[in-house]
């Protein structure tokens, strides 16, 4: 037993030492002009099959995965987050199009997202058609980049927000008159060091959230029955 304890202590020491010796390689400095990745915000509008129109604030988080891009959408009026992945199709060095298909969580749609270089930054134009819950039609959006990466509020702020979300009751309906942050200066998101325990990432897609909650509810029930 004593030998086992010594072995466990040595293992922990080795892992901690390895961690301490890891180089704190932050990402190479990138001012964001070479990559279209980042957080985009703006308005989108659509027209359903009956000719009824509507619009909403839209936030899109874009992660450049090399030959593909992962795009996470949030439409304020729906308050639902969905994501999609598509291949990069470059037209020269200043424009890239990502065709996407979403078929999950009540959304069945296809579309195209195009990023165009605009001086030192990028702008996003998107269009698509399909169904989202009771909406059946098409829509388009034009967004500007507000951050080169995914901005992260302080830990204290996040904990406070979570507390308010848990006890604050259902969210208020989205404000239709909200306007995108026009002319807002683009911020540069800080890259996490290799020693950071976690990285900033887009909000979790709603369907993943429900699968996760199912796992965390169903298995404690089984634990209870054991």
């Amino acid at each position: 037993m004593r030998r086992l304890s010594k072995g466990a202590a040595a293992l922990v020491a080795i892992v901690l030492l390895t961690l301490a010796l890891l180089p704190t390689l932050a990402y190479a400095a990138d001012d964001g002009t070479n990559s279209y990745a980042g957080t985009y915000m703006g308005r989108g509008d659509g027209k359903d099959k009956n000719g009824k129109t509507g619009d909403s604030m839209v936030t899109i988080w874009v992660e450049d995965l090399g030959d593909t891009a992962r795009i996470t959408f949030q439409v304020d009026k729906l308050d639902v987050t969905v994501d999609a992945e598509g291949p990069e199709q470059w037209s020269g060095e200043d424009q890239v199009t990502i065709p996407i298909t979403i078929n999950k969580y009540g959304v069945d749609a296809t579309g195209e997202i195009t990023f165009s270089r605009d001086g030192n930054t990028w702008v996003l134009g998107g269009s698509g058609s399909g169904k989202a819950y009771t909406y059946d039609g098409d829509g388009q959006t034009a967004l500007t980049r507000i951050s080169t990466g995914i901005p992260m509020p302080s830990l204290g702020e996040q904990i406070k927000d979570m507390g308010e979300a848990v006890v604050g009751g259902p969210p208020e309906p989205a404000d239709d008159s909200a306007v995108p942050p026009k002319g807002q200066a683009e911020t540069q998101a800080e890259a996490a060091s290799s020693l950071a325990p976690a990285e900033a990432a887009p909000p979790l897609p709603t369907d993943d959230m429900f699968v996760g909650l199912f796992l965390l509810t169903f298995f404690p029930l089984l634990f209870l029955l054991l």
Binding site: L78, Y135, E199, D208, L226
Partner: protein, 182 residues
């Protein structure tokens, strides 16, 4: 369509409440004396691994794997030493165990924090909660291994295979009353 955010809020709150109640009752049950069954610990490890692995593969939060491994190893060490404190006793011919409450409650805290951040927090908070869950998973693993190792000689006694060097006190086993069937 306008009701979607409210529906999502109430479903999330209900799932969080259910998970919290289930895991607290399960942790209390695992901390009181009960009949020892070797398979129970194995099933617990399997379920804990399914929960953790399922969250990693399906939800895929962006947490640092090295930190998760370190915390998992530390949790396993904590669980192992806590598991060595488990008390075995014989009651009406059955082997009973009173396990340390360390691992069940560490795992319970991990599940509750992960559920809360998953339902209402940002992805960053959820990634941090996964590290708490990694520590809890390690603790469950360490505790079950320690209990199984400790139970082996006790079970051997019950099967009539008493080794001359076996000392019930060393195995954390309370002395059986005179005449009790072992």
């Amino acid at each position: 369509m306008k009701d979607v955010p409210a529906i999502i809020y109430w479903i999330s709150l209900a799932a969080l409440a259910l998970a919290t109640v289930f895991i607290i009752v399960a942790a209390v049950r695992q901390s009181v004396p009960r009949t020892f069954a070797p398979w129970r610990g194995i099933v617990q490890i399997v379920m804990a691994v399914i929960v953790f692995g399922g969250l990693v593969l399906i939800v895929s939060p962006s947490f640092n794997v090295i930190w998760a491994v370190v915390l998992g190893v530390l949790g396993a060490a904590a669980g192992f030493f806590a598991g060595r404190g488990a008390k075995f006793s014989v009651d009406t011919g059955k082997l009973k165990i009173r396990r340390s409450p360390v691992a069940p409650w560490l795992w319970a805290v991990g599940v509750i924090v992960a559920s809360m951040t998953l339902a209402f927090g940002t992805s960053y908070l959820f990634a941090l909660a996964m590290l708490v869950l990694a520590f809890g998973l390690g603790a469950v693993l360490g505790q079950v291994i320690a209990e199984q190792m400790q139970a082996k000689p006790v079970v051997a006694v019950g099967q009539g295979g008493l080794a001359p060097a076996f000392d019930p006190a060393q195995a954390g086993m309370a002395a059986p009353p005179p005449g009790a069937a072992v």
